[in-house]
């Protein structure tokens, strides 16, 4: 094991190309209140990933046909900026973005107390400024902070992280270089307090044992990220932002 063609991404001591061990996530920075005109916002720098989330609302939902009588609608957009990737991303319709927007909205709807705001809309805008690997996870995490920064009541905070497999070894939080040779990707969105899952995707190839290892790495990673989220919110609300 440990070889995929002639590219070895993990050395014999289990150290990855950027010096991490199998269960380590990349360095993470989180700031809240970064978009002055938004009702709430956050910036997540996760490795080289750079993601902004802004929240507007609750506001009246229109056109009226999108209104729900008993709750607020979460209108979530995930988008990659044209300069976020090595080859420029053309703006416009994109099936991948539509799907990520949908599953992100469904994850956040689970924790936002939408029933407090019938007939209204809460806009959540996620913009990827620089993409490495794991932008959907960084986006969900940033959106959680932005919703809290906007003062939207939530039952829990969602943290999202992905484990994967490379050179036949399960590792946590693949970076771009690893992802190019990756054999599986298991992103999960986990509630900080309850430990429940609100977001789950996976593709690739994982044996039952590998699957369990990847699952466990994700579960173990959320604690430190949750602390950074809370610090960012405290700092923003302490008026230092």
């Amino acid at each position: 094991m440990g070889g995929y063609g002639d590219v070895q991404m993990i050395d014999d001591n289990g150290i990855r190309v950027d010096g991490r061990t199998a269960g380590d996530i990349r360095p993470v920075e989180i700031r809240a209140g970064v978009i002055p005109v938004a009702d709430g916002s956050a910036e997540v720098i996760w490795g080289t990933n750079h993601v902004i989330a802004a929240v507007y609302g609750p506001m009246e939902a229109h056109p009226r046909k999108i209104q729900k009588q008993d709750r607020a609608v979460l209108d979530v957009r995930y988008n990659m900026a044209p300069f976020s990737t090595t080859d420029r991303m053309r703006p416009g319709f994109n099936r991948r973005s539509r799907e990520i927007s949908k599953v992100t909205a469904e994850a956040l709807e689970t924790v936002v107390l939408t029933e407090l705001y019938p007939r209204s809309k809460i806009r959540v805008e996620i913009e990827v400024l620089t993409a490495e690997a794991g932008t959907r996870c960084a986006g969900i995490t940033a959106a959680s902070v932005a919703l809290a920064d906007a003062g939207i009541p939530m039952t829990d905070m969602v943290i999202s992280v992905a484990s994967g497999k490379i050179n036949g070894i399960v590792v946590c939080d693949l970076n771009k270089e690893e992802d190019n040779y990756g054999e599986a990707d298991l992103p999960m969105g986990i509630c900080a307090n309850s430990g429940d899952l609100v977001f789950l995707q996976m593709d690739g190839d994982l044996s039952p044992e590998e699957f369990q290892q990847a699952w466990d790495y994700n579960m173990e990673s959320i604690g430190p990220v949750h602390e950074l989220m809370i610090e960012a919110l405290e700092k923003a609300n302490g008026g230092e932002s």
Binding site: R98, K102, V103, L200, G204, D205, P208
Partner: protein, 257 residues
Amino acid sequence: MAAPPVPELLRAHLTELAKNDERLDGRGRFEGREVQIETGVLPRAEGSARVVMGDTIVLAGVKFQIMTPYPDRPTSGGFMTSAEVRPVSGVHWEAGPPSPAAIELGRVVDRGIRESGCLDMSDLCILPGEKAWQVILDVFALSDDGNLFDAFATAAMAALRTAIIPGERFDVGEDRPLPVSKKPMMCSYHRVGGRFVYDAVRREEIGGAERIHITLGDDDHVHSLQKGLKGAFTADEFAEIMDHARQRCAELRNMIE
């Protein structure tokens, strides 16, 4: 067709049924509807299947085109899945560009097949750097009474495993079967009346909450997962449906050639 159910009343009814571990149509929690699979049903497709699961009926058709390989993979062909769920298949499916729900359907079915590695892309090369086969899988709903995901995934595998690469029509060699090395199968679960059930009908979908789609390959390897809709689930709940999926995917795998 029955009048469209009022979600709140339906939800209450489903919760009541769940208390006695019952379902709308009398099935057990993890009992699937009967599955009928027929292949070779579309004369203009190079591979095809019809799958009937209760009142859910779907088609899958495989077509081939010749493509120029991408510069960074000169010896690879391509694979594409298209699911445009047209309004023929139910009053709740509307005309227009693909809805987010249809996009998700197509992408989840696609990933289960693609990520299993069952299609060897290098086998689709005709002339390196110049010509390769593109496999196009069109899944098409005729009647949606719930669980289009599993119906599509089953029809897709049945169609792919009987598909013939039309070398003669394109004047690039002889016709030959499309090699499909594995049989990834999908099982879908919906939270209905509080607990997860397998193979939900449409009214269970309407009155239910989140759903989880699991695609497993040979030897129980996991190839694709997707959680959809609002809702949270525990690790224990997931372990329970994963157990059932391993057993059921094996059964479905045996129904495919």
